[in-house]
């Protein structure tokens, strides 16, 4: 059998398996808060959700391309691509959210010791351990390298004191990959004193406080460190050598962010909301003005989809797509902002209701969702590298403009 025939056979097997094993309830869009955060605190909302999780886990398809001996699926890249395509074709929900596999896992596989790999990779693949990211600090957001988390050496341990912020799901995570300050020498570049370390969230001295956003409760947390002891052997790579590894890790962030975004429900699309609310605007002049803005955004959304398709084709043809993909984070964030601004204008006060989370409210779910998504729309222009940072990156790396 040729490679092509093998892949075709694999596609058939995947289809049949998914058909038999992905419960129909798991082939609908994920509702708000309906994601499964892996790890020791895992919770399921429903039996189909649990079944889908366990079956994918047993199939070892959480990390399809990772080596079998470490708990991965051992698939080739081509096979993994087929699996991904079939999952999306059948509209299967993501069985879990797993920053271990999406973010730090590939880094441990590349830079970690054998012991670190054996300790962490299998538990990522089995979903036993969940991971969160300890990067940002109150004074180190866009300028991440300014981070200050104090790390004093005491015997075989670091003793950590400080504060991490914007850590998603810290309250549900078993482990954190964390950036700490291990060299404070003002004569050196601040990038040179940063170390990447893995730490157990059950350590004493760690406390977690969820952050309330403009839109209400969120999964972002602040994490306080009060004399937290971390073995020095948990360092990934070299001490003070964390920055280059972090830059690499951040490249995975874009992918993880878009997976997370895909998995969250964004409410009805602009066209369908506009079809319902535009006819309610009585004045023809105002209706026309709104309609023009709405069409502009519908076209922008289409343009982004076409660009995604173009990237897919270029990648398949073996072309370098880094130039084009640099626009996605910025374009998606800004389009989201514009979309919710125009929805606010279109729906007026009906988009300004506050969700009490109880029955019998004056506002319907679409309206409450619009208000909430509008308040969240800045988040996508700030988290994971703000729009301004994206523009800097394009200017310097893509356009080659001088410093």
């Amino acid at each position: 059998m040729s490679d092509k025939e093998h892949l075709e056979q694999f596609r058939q097997e995947v289809r049949e398996w998914l058909e038999a094993n992905c419960p129909p309830e798991m082939r609908t869009p994920t509702p708000e808060g309906g994601i499964v955060w892996v790890g020791s605190k895992i919770q399921f909302d429903s039996e189909p959700q649990r079944l889908w999780y366990e079956r994918m886990c047993d199939k070892r398809w959480f990390a399809p391309t990772w080596p079998v001996e470490l708990g991965g699926g051992g698939l080739s890249k081509d096979q993994a691509r087929i699996l991904e395509r079939e999952l999306s074709r059948m509209k299967c929900r993501m069985p879990m959210v797993n920053l271990g596999i999406w973010m730090i896992g590939p880094i441990i596989l590349e830079f970690g010791t054998e012991e670190q790999k054996r300790q962490h990779i299998p538990k990522m693949c089995s979903g036993e351990a969940s991971w969160c990211q300890g990067f940002s600090e109150p004074n180190a957001g866009s300028d991440l390298a300014s981070l200050k988390m104090r790390a004093d050496v005491d015997g075989d341990d670091f003793v950590l004191n400080g504060l991490k912020i914007w850590t998603s799901y810290a309250q549900k995570s078993d482990w954190m990959y964390c950036l700490i300050r291990t060299d404070n020498d003002p004569a050196k570049d601040k990038q040179q004193g940063i170390t990447l370390v893995l730490l157990d969230m059950n350590n004493s001295g760690i406390s977690v406080k969820p952050i309330e956003l403009l839109s209400g409760k969120s999964n972002f947390c602040q994490v306080f460190f009060d004399n937290v002891r971390v073995p020095i052997k948990n360092v990934i790579g070299e001490i003070n050598g964390g920055w280059p590894i972090t830059k690499k890790l951040l490249q995975y962030e874009r992918g993880a962010m878009s997976k997370l975004n895909e998995s969250s429900v964004k409410g009805r699309d602009l066209t369908s909301l506009a079809q319902e609310y535009l006819p309610q605007v009585a004045d023809p002049m105002q209706r026309a003005a709104l309609r023009d803005r709405i069409a502009g955004i519908i076209i922008d959304e289409k343009a982004a989809l076409f660009t995604m398709q173009r990237v897919g084709e270029e990648a398949k043809a073996g072309g370098d797509v880094g130039t084009i993909t640099s626009i996605f984070k910025y374009a998606a964030g800004e389009e989201g902002r514009q979309k919710y601004e125009v929805l606010l204008a279109l729906m007026g006060h009906r988009a300004l209701g506050w969700d009490l989370g109880s029955e019998g409210q004056e506002f319907n779910q679409d309206e409450l969702m619009t208000a909430k998504q509008w308040l969240l729309s800045w988040t996508y222009c700030i988290a994971g590298g703000s729009s301004e940072i994206q523009l800097n990156v394009i200017a310097k790396r893509i356009l080659g403009l001088p410093s």
Binding site: T271, A274, Q275, L278, R291, D292, I294, A295, G296, I298, I299, D300, K302, A303, A304, F306, T307, Q309, R310, E313, E314, A317, I324, I327, Y330, A331, E388, Q390, L391, N392, I394, A395, K396, I398, L399, G400, L401, P402, S403
Partner: protein
């Protein structure tokens, strides 16, 4: 539907790129402007385009053409846009050729397609009667007259209208909107050349008591709008390809300038105020390019969605071109507002393209209507 060009189309694009770069320059364009050139294109250039077979890009192999598909049009017009090379290509091959292909009967196809491919005829589409593109306004009348029709009316801003040999004219007959093929030299046709900012061929055309035979009808009397709509959409998408070339030249030239121009002892490209604007242009260029590529592909592969794709492309491409051309002038500073710099020539052609066959609001309106709004 595949957005990227295939090997053949890519080769055609490279050939066109080299050809226009080596054979046309803004120096020629400036000379034509100086001399108030009657044609506003270089006849030798057009003749060579014919000889290279480009007039047969859209016609199928059975029709004697090359069958490149509509991406072939994009492959020629984007490079043409980059150099501002004008020619009767769009009017003749895209508009005339599509009108005959889509609406022509066997005799008309036999008559005209071979002549288009051979470069023996130049076509123009005479539709607009108002300063803003609006094909629904058609006061030109076609009155039944024995076996034929009498045409009366006036068409404005006819692209390639001053040089065309044959005109595709929209008129209202008793059966409804109808298209006619009219000889540009027929008795009663008066053409007034329009000098516009882009130094291209354009005309106002008056039809007074113009007699045409029943054979001149393209398609069925009364179904003119169905053909016209499809022809216009092809024209819009072709124009988008030219606009993409214009915008790309303006963008590249401006980014280069940011890397050369020194003020306050530093390169102005190091200023974040300009870097962010440059990056925004880049984002818009990428989005516009994808939309234009999708529209080019749509003509051949997904024609049921043509109106949507054509309007999305024309709106998005116009938006990007307006942005990039305005920023190009502004970022060049003082020299940007002088005639000496070529940026102004691209700006001027660009804005004529934006207005032609519907501007941003025209096409947003169309997308909204198709979206049920």
């Amino acid at each position: 539907m595949a957005l990227l060009f295939n090997e053949e189309q890519r080769l055609l694009q490279e050939t066109a790129q080299d050809y226009f770069q080596n054979n046309f320059s803004t120096k020629t364009l400036r000379q034509m402007r100086e001399n108030q050139d009657a044609l506003c294109y270089v006849p030798e250039l057009w003749q060579q385009m014919v000889e290279m077979g480009w007039t047969g890009i859209l016609a199928t192999e059975e029709e004697g053409g090359l069958g490149f598909g509509f991406k072939g049009v994009g492959a020629v017009l984007e490079p043409a846009g980059k150099t501002l090379a004008g020619s009767p290509f769009l009017g003749t091959v895209v508009l005339g050729g599509s009108a005959i292909q889509l609406g022509g009967n066997d005799a008309q196809r036999a008559d005209w397609l071979a002549k288009i491919i051979g470069g023996e005829v130049r076509f123009a589409l005479a539709v607009d009667e108002t300063p803003r593109h609006d094909p629904n306004v058609c006061k030109t009348t076609a009155t039944k007259n024995g076996g034929g029709y009498t045409l009366d009316g006036e068409k404005l801003f006819v692209m390639d209208g001053a040089c065309a040999d044959q005109l595709i004219v929209s008129a209202t007959s008793e059966a409804g909107p109808t298209l006619f093929i009219v000889d540009a030299k027929a008795a009663g046709v008066t053409r007034h050349r329009l000098a516009m900012i882009d130094t291209r061929n354009a005309a106002r055309i008056v039809f007074k008591n113009v007699q045409v035979s029943a054979d001149a009808v393209l398609g069925q009397p009364g179904n003119g709008n169905e053909i016209l709509e499809q022809v216009l959409d092809r024209g819009r998408i072709a124009l988008c390809a030219e606009m993409l070339g214009i915008a790309q030249w303006l963008f590249d030239t401006t980014i280069d300038y940011l890397k050369q121009r020194v003020q306050f002892d530093v390169l102005i490209g190091s200023f974040q105020a300009l870097q962010h604007r440059a990056s925004r242009m880049f984002v818009q260029m990428q989005l516009a390019r994808s939309t234009v590529l999708a529209a080019l592909a749509c003509v051949d592969e997904n024609p049921a969605f043509l109106p949507y794709y054509a309007s999305a492309a024309k709106a998005k491409m116009s938006e990007a071109l307006e942005l990039v051309s305005s920023e190009a002038v502004q970022m060049h500073g003082g020299i940007g507002v002088t005639d000496e710099l070529d940026v102004g020539l691209y700006l001027k052609r660009g804005r004529v393209c934006v207005a032609a066959f519907g501007d941003i609001s025209f096409h947003r309106d169309r997308v909204a209507r198709i979206s049920g709004l």
